[in-house]
């Protein structure tokens, strides 16, 4: 990050944040996407992704964290994630089964990423809701801290 406008406080923390934030993001998204194949899932992956928000705050301060992550957008995205989940869960009713029923489960080979029907999409929706929701909560709490410091 060679942006001159960004105020950098501590080089060690910033370097660590630069190093770990991408890892957190990749790992979290990996866990969300592979929720139907491996341990973990939407919630766990979502929280790991949201931890990247903490790293950005630690490295670059509250201003940068809010400018990059846009709390209002996160708030709306959380509602979108919840709506996505409801939609995929309702698909079960539309396809003549019960609510939350996994449909299209015959698509793909077992073990592939796109192989388990709507359970994959529901898992993704949960992950999206959690990463935006927890991210928003983290920014909100840091916002309280930032106000206290000012």
């Amino acid at each position: 990050m060679s942006n001159k406008n960004v105020k950098v406080k501590e080089y060690i923390i910033k370097s660590a944040a630069d190093f770990f934030a991408p890892i957190g993001l990749i790992l979290g998204i990996y866990i969300i996407l592979h929720g139907h194949l491996s341990p973990g899932g939407g919630f766990q992956g979502g929280v790991i992704v949201a931890s990247a928000a903490v790293l950005i705050y630690l490295g670059y301060g509250y201003e940068t964290a809010t400018n990059t992550l846009k709390p209002n957008l996160l708030k709306k995205s959380e509602a979108i994630g919840a709506l996505m989940y409801s939609f995929f869960a309702l698909l079960g009713i539309f396809y003549a089964a019960n609510f939350c029923r996994n449909v299209f489960y015959n698509v793909g080979n077992p073990g592939d990423l796109f192989s388990s029907g709507t359970i994959f999409l529901m898992n993704f929706a949960v992950g999206y809701k959690v990463l935006t929701g927890v991210g928003f909560l983290i920014l909100l709490m840091f916002g309280l801290l930032a106000n206290k410091e000012a």
Binding site: A79, I80, L83, N98, C100
Partner: protein, 631 residues
Amino acid sequence: MTQHLPILAIITLFIGAFIVALIKEKNEVLRNTVVLIATFMSFIFTLMMYKPIIGEGNIITYWMGNWEPVQNWAIGIGLEVDQLSLFFGLFISLSIVLSALYSFKYIEKETGKDKYYVLFLMMSASVMGFIFTGDLFNMYVMIEIMTFASVALTAFRNNKPEAVEAGFKYIAIGSIGSSLILLATVIIYAQFHTLNLAQIAGELHNNYTITTLFALALMVVGYAVKVFAVPTHFVAPDAYMTAPSSISMLFSGIVNKAAVYGILRVLYVVYQSMNLPSVQFMLIFWGTVTMFIGVTMALAQHDFKRLLAFHSISQIGYVITGIGLATALGITGGLYHALNHTLFKGLLFLCAGAVYYATGTTDLDKLGGLAKRMPQTALIFIIGAFSISGIPPFNGFVSKWIIYQASYEAGYAPVTIIALIVSVMTLASFIKVAQSAFFGQLPKEFKNVEEVPLSMRVPMWIMAILCIVGGIFPSSFTKYLITPAANAVMNSAKYVEVMMGPEFASKFYNNLGNAPVIDYKLAGYWQPIAWLILFGILLLAFTLVALLGGFNPKHFSYSDEEDAKYDVFYSGESAEFSHVGGSDLFWGLKYQFRHYFDLMHKIHNGVVNDYALSVVLTAAVVLLYVFTFVR
């Protein structure tokens, strides 16, 4: 289609909440439309369940994701809607619609309306989920969503310090209650390795251990905190007072009722413990104490909504007493009173909201004479006040009468007497409210207040009409609503059989299929025509006396005492403004019982630590009681 109705009734409200979260705060019309459609659809879905469930006597079961029991072992989350759930669902979804309708105008001038409606719909959805679920952990999750939404809504007017304080108290006490429920859930899960209510009910049938009794005690106290039974009621007045009135209505109408449903479900269906005299006595004692302390505290209040909150506690005492009697008549009375309490207490809270909307205060010492400016609100308030006081021909009379009769027949005559006294005190304190808020002299600053808008009056009128209908046609109400629900309460075996299959149920129950059906006769207690004639005669006599000048103050002799505060009050002195404020109408009673009121005042000290301690102490006492007496 029928089997999907329960989940649709729940999920429409949740989807409504998520859509409202996406709508911009300024876009009022779209948001109100979404709220109205979501609540109304939920109500319609609930109504559509009436015919299959109560009409034909079926029970709807629904396994999420088609995860049906394997080898008599429930592995999925199930919904199960029997007559009891549907009975609660019907009036809960109706009051959600009415509260939404009322909210549109009522909170028009507030900020943060988008958050209000999100939380409103979340709370409504969680209550619907709570009463339709057949899964113990789902019950916990839903009551937790409900508690947190209620806490946030309590602190909705966060420009007022008392609102934030009430929210804090509520979250502290409510969390203790939730924790107790969670602990009980965990213990039951550890014992039976299942969370399905029907399966647990089967396993628990005549099979108590110390561990399950421990869970029972924790569960009862947890729901008692949510229902605001007396030693845990301290947050209720604060929360009811500071929340917007449309929300106070839901607190007493749906949040409280959800907890009543929880107690019923746990004690009657899951534990089947209500044939034990010790459990019956516990509930009756608890309910009686709750109704008495609630009403005496209400007599001492100066704030319209705070007074209503204490009455809410008191009326819930009736419900608990009724269901604690565990006779057919007692359950009928308790359920009927739960329905009526939702109607009349919702109505009264909406009246308080109308007064607040018009005048900006609910302090009884400042109000007065509003009947001239707000005649419809005053009339609706009188209907609500008569209903809650148990005056014929309104609905409160019917359910209270059933409870008197049931408690007397069950051999609890002292309870009957206390219930009667409490009813009289209820009337007394509502005379005070009517006198302080709607009659007497109109203060100058309220000369120009106007009647509330139509969209606020419509929900009030609907509830008022239901109050009257419930009082005039009690036999059809009991026949088409209450008795099926009461039968479902008594018939745990059927609940298990429908959910888990006859094979599973026959392992535990001997007499499947021929469960006792309540043979309930109305016993000739209610003849509306005779009461109506009596009412007419009384009204005529009253009018006659009034016309002859019987109430003219000059016929009474009263001395000119120095301190006008302690004058007996007569209306119509022209000399000076002699409005009797909220405090002074029953000063004699309060003086006589000053030691009692002093004690109560000391107990309600507003310190949240003490309140939390009282909840913990209640839990300890109930635990001791259950371990000692319940076998």
